[in-house]
């Protein structure tokens, strides 16, 4: 199965996704703008370059599976799916609105391209491991990707799945951690420290890669390493910045819950529009 049909730079895709996230959380008066901006680059690289998915056949049996386990960043997934052709970009306007199926936490029902619904943390990795195990049993070559937040790693269920996945040699499973070091109320370090984080995965038998989660080239190179791994599941610990792309939202606990309104929305829009313009110009150059 071919890579998806997205034409254009993944940087530009990420910029569109950021603009959509800010618009959606503004229109909905909803939370988690910082959580979405944090993963915009990861999603753009996945959907623009890595995943074998086809917007015209979203349930194709050979597709790569992608689960957003940190379901509260659902707006980011809806945005990247719309921008890569799974559904009309205009549908994003219904996010969080009365009667909409585009819920705050990602849901698959009525939304082409969403693999699995989440919202309660600590569910996605087990489901992904089940899908990866099934792919092995069925001798299929697709991979299963699952994106978790750092705060989500507090959930014990993840560590059950981390044990399982290495024991069963699920080398077709890729966990991606959005390690922006800020969780809901405070920093990860102050809440429930994860360090030495990479060492924990290594001790659990995972192929452990640390990468800048906003560096597209580095992300692509890291994802490319997955296919070389013969026995272990892979984790990409992505060092990220919560709120990335909107200067005043970056590294701020406030923007986990705050919705961009008024002048803040205007300022965020201007900043994102400027980066889109810059990328479009450099693409045309």
């Amino acid at each position: 199965m071919a890579k998806n049909q997205y034409i254009g730079s993944t940087e530009l895709l990420a910029a569109y996704v950021r603009r959509d996230i800010v618009d959606m959380t503004h229109r909905g008066g909803s939370s988690h703008v910082g959580s979405g901006l944090s993963i915009a680059d990861i999603l753009a690289v996945l959907y623009g370059d890595i995943l074998s998915v086809d917007p015209s056949a979203p349930r194709h049996d050979n597709r790569d599976r992608f689960i957003l386990s940190k379901g509260h960043a659902g707006a980011a997934v809806y945005a990247v799916l719309a921008e890569t052709g799974f559904f009309e970009v205009g549908r994003l306007e219904s996010h969080y609105q009365n009667g909409s199926v585009l819920s705050g936490h990602v849901s698959h029902k009525g939304v082409p391209g969403v693999e699995f619904s989440t919202g309660s943390l600590g569910h996605g990795l087990s489901v992904a491991a089940g899908m990866a195990k099934a792919a092995k049993l069925r001798q299929k070559s697709h991979k299963v990707f699952v994106l978790l937040s750092d705060g989500e790693c507090d959930e014990g269920s993840n560590w059950e799945a981390i044990l399982f996945s290495s024991h069963h040699k699920l080398n077709n499973l890729v966990a991606i951690i959005d390690y922006n070091k800020i969780q809901s109320l405070d920093s990860v370090e102050a809440t429930l420290g994860l360090e030495p984080f990479a060492d924990k995965f290594k001790a659990f038998g995972w192929n452990t890669i640390e990468v800048n989660g906003h560096d597209h080239l580095a992300l692509k190179k890291s994802f490319a390493l997955v296919s070389q791994e013969k026995t272990r599941p892979t984790v990409l610990i992505c060092h990220t910045t919560k709120g990335k792309g909107v200067s005043f939202m970056e590294n701020s606990v406030l923007w986990h819950y705050r919705s961009p309104q008024g002048q803040e929305y205007q300022a965020a829009s201007l900043e994102l529009q400027a980066s889109i313009q810059q990328l479009e110009e450099s693409n045309h150059a």
């Binding site: 087990s126 990866a132 069925r138 399982f164």
Partner: protein, 306 residues
């Protein structure tokens, strides 16, 4: 009853390579033959029921018919949110199998009493809730359940007994008239049917004709067999080895009131809203907590006298 389940699953797995049994490291001596015969259709996932339920959803969404197996509350309450979000919301073809209904593990203490499971699982959309009354019925229902997609709960009791000729008319989702009668109806769910039948026998010797119904499926619920009993007999007693809240008695109450079909009397026999602290074998605890044939008889007599 658990042997009947696993025997039937073994014969199903022979014909269907998509059957996948996951166990949370329980089933000593019970699952051995299955595991040896079908190594690619069996995973002991370890003592990790949350992960087991999520894995089950993932496997089911990729085409497997998944069974999660453990005892008491471990396949149900321990991982309830995985069941709700991952299995039920996604309508995944997963059958939760819990061995140890009610006081089956009576000596093991409160952690091992499965006495609220029916109410909790019944509340989940898409979930079918099944409680066989004897090994024969367990076998038939296991086969019938395997033919259906979607989330299902199979509540396995320790209970033995029953006989092959009784299962000719067993049908998933349909209540059974196990004993005809006209004065009163005893509605039973699961293996405590044996107590209901004992009570009916004793009542017969007192000149009281008791109908006995066996409900094998709490959800979807066979309302018509209950409504017929309301119309045709003098009153209803329900009996279950489960909390009175939300189980068989609760389901009957909801159904009758919603349809305005009111029995002449109705008494729900089940556990009161307290944690038992006492242990003992299943019969001892049934007796102690007023779920035995004697209790059914005394309730029947006092209700009929009113």
């Amino acid at each position: 009853m658990r042997d009947a389940f696993i025997d039937e699953l073994t014969s199903l797995a022979k014909k269907d390579p998509t059957i996948m049994l996951l166990t949370g490291d329980l089933g000593f001596g019970v699952l051995t033959e299955y595991a040896e015969k079908f190594p690619n259709q069996y995973i002991n996932v370890g003592v990790a029921e949350q992960n087991m339920s999520g894995l089950a959803a993932g496997l089911a969404l990729e085409g497997y018919k998944v069974y999660t197996y453990s005892i008491a509350n471990f396949t149900t309450l321990r991982c309830l949110e995985q069941i709700r979000n991952d299995i039920c919301y996604h309508d995944a073809n997963v059958t939760l199998v819990s061995v140890g209904a009610g006081f089956s593990y009576g000596q093991l203490g409160m952690s091992h009493f499965a006495t609220e499971d029916l109410a909790i699982l019944r509340a989940l959309p898409n979930m079918m809730v099944v409680a066989p009354s004897d090994p024969w019925e367990a076998k038939v229902l296991t086969r019938q359940m395997a033919a259906l997609s979607g989330p299902k709960y199979l509540r396995i009791d320790k209970g033995a007994g029953g006989s092959e000729e009784n299962v000719a008319d067993v049908s998933l989702g349909k209540g059974r008239v196990v004993r005809e009668g006209s004065d009163i109806t005893i509605v039973s769910l699961g293996a405590i049917l044996s107590e209901a039948l004992k009570a009916a026998e004793s009542l017969a010797s007192l000149g009281i004709s008791a109908r006995v119904l066996s409900i094998n499926t709490l959800k979807p619920f066979d309302e018509s067999i209950i409504f017929n009993a309301c119309r045709e007999t003098g009153g209803l007693i329900s009996v279950e080895e489960h909390s009175k809240i939300g189980g068989l008695g609760g389901t009957i109450s909801e159904a009758c009131l919603a349809s305005n079909i009111i029995p002449k009397f109705f008494v729900s026999i089940g556990l009161i809203d307290e944690y038992p602290t006492m242990v003992g074998d299943q019969n001892f605890l049934r007796d102690h907590f007023d779920l035995s044939a004697e209790k059914i008889i005394s309730v029947a007599l006092s209700s009929l006298q009113k």
